[in-house]
Amino acid sequence: METASPEIFSSIPLTHYILLSTTLFVIGLIGVMVRKNIIIVFMCIEIMLNAANLMLTATSVYYNNPGGQIMVFFTMTVAAAEVAVGLAIIVMAFKNLNTTNIDLFNKLKG
């Protein structure tokens, strides 16, 4: 198997990865805030999770510590479970309200 280039450690500092994942995270954040379609909002949350995953993996590799990658594994587990349950909830809510527009889920307020 091709060995990972030590090159990447020398040419790209970990900071870059952290920045990249932060950027992705922020994009996800923005998406969560502005999008109205629940499914897309949910997808944006997935982006956020992936951003964290990316940081974990990069850090794990840079630190030569497998924990980060294991964590990513669990994150995916969690994400899968969340998606399953989340989509079930979305479907249920859709059945009741017949919409996925996030703005219309505002019966409970005040």
């Binding site: 040419s11 970990l14 990249l20 954040l29 999008r35 997808m43 992936n50 594994f73 669990f74 587990t77």
Partner: protein, 168 residues
């Protein structure tokens, strides 16, 4: 060379993720999201974390996104196109997102990260990770089973038709 690859991938990822957010059509969003996942997997590869790269594609792009697509189709949302009536949420979101980015950057700039001494190239391989996972991380591994049990039972519960049985 590799740094150029990194930058290319990074920019592509960011653009792709941005497109997820800005696309008006849900299907487009899903597709861009899949693209994003692929690009992230590429990053993993770059980082020599092949196992994760695989899992990422299989789980996310493969399973999760299919679920999403399925639900969109199931709920017949592919026609539904959002109307962006107001720019104010965008404004607030971008400002606060930018702030968050800045904060992380400045925190980062004040921090000296640990510099690791040596890098093992086999770190991200299945064998290695499997060892760690089943030895050191056995507990969370098992407990994640509980998580799935809950998710399973929950999904079954939520999608079951509600029926009323007379109390005895």
């Amino acid at each position: 060379m590799i740094d150029k690859v990194f930058y290319f991938l990074s920019i592509a990822t960011v653009i792709s993720a941005t497109l997820v957010v800005v696309s008006k059509h849900p299907i487009k969003s899903v597709l861009f999201l899949v693209l994003t996942f692929f690009l992230i997997s590429a990053h993993y590869v770059l980082l020599n974390a092949q196992f994760l790269a695989m899992v990422n594609i299989v789980v996310y792009a493969g399973a999760i996104m299919v679920l999403f697509l399925f639900v969109i189709m199931f709920l017949n949302l592919n026609k539904e196109i959002e109307q962006h009536k107001s720019l104010i949420p965008w404004f607030i979101a971008i400002i606060s997102g930018g702030c968050f980015l800045l904060i992380t950057m400045s925190a980062l700039s004040k921090t000296e990260l640990i510099s690791s001494v040596e890098h093992s190239s086999s770190l991200g391989l299945v064998e290695n990770l499997g060892n760690v996972l089943y030895k050191e991380y056995l507990l969370p591994m098992e407990l994640s089973a509980v998580l799935f049990l809950i998710a399973m039972a929950g999904v079954v519960l939520l999608s079951r038709k509600e029926k009323i049985v007379d109390t005895k």
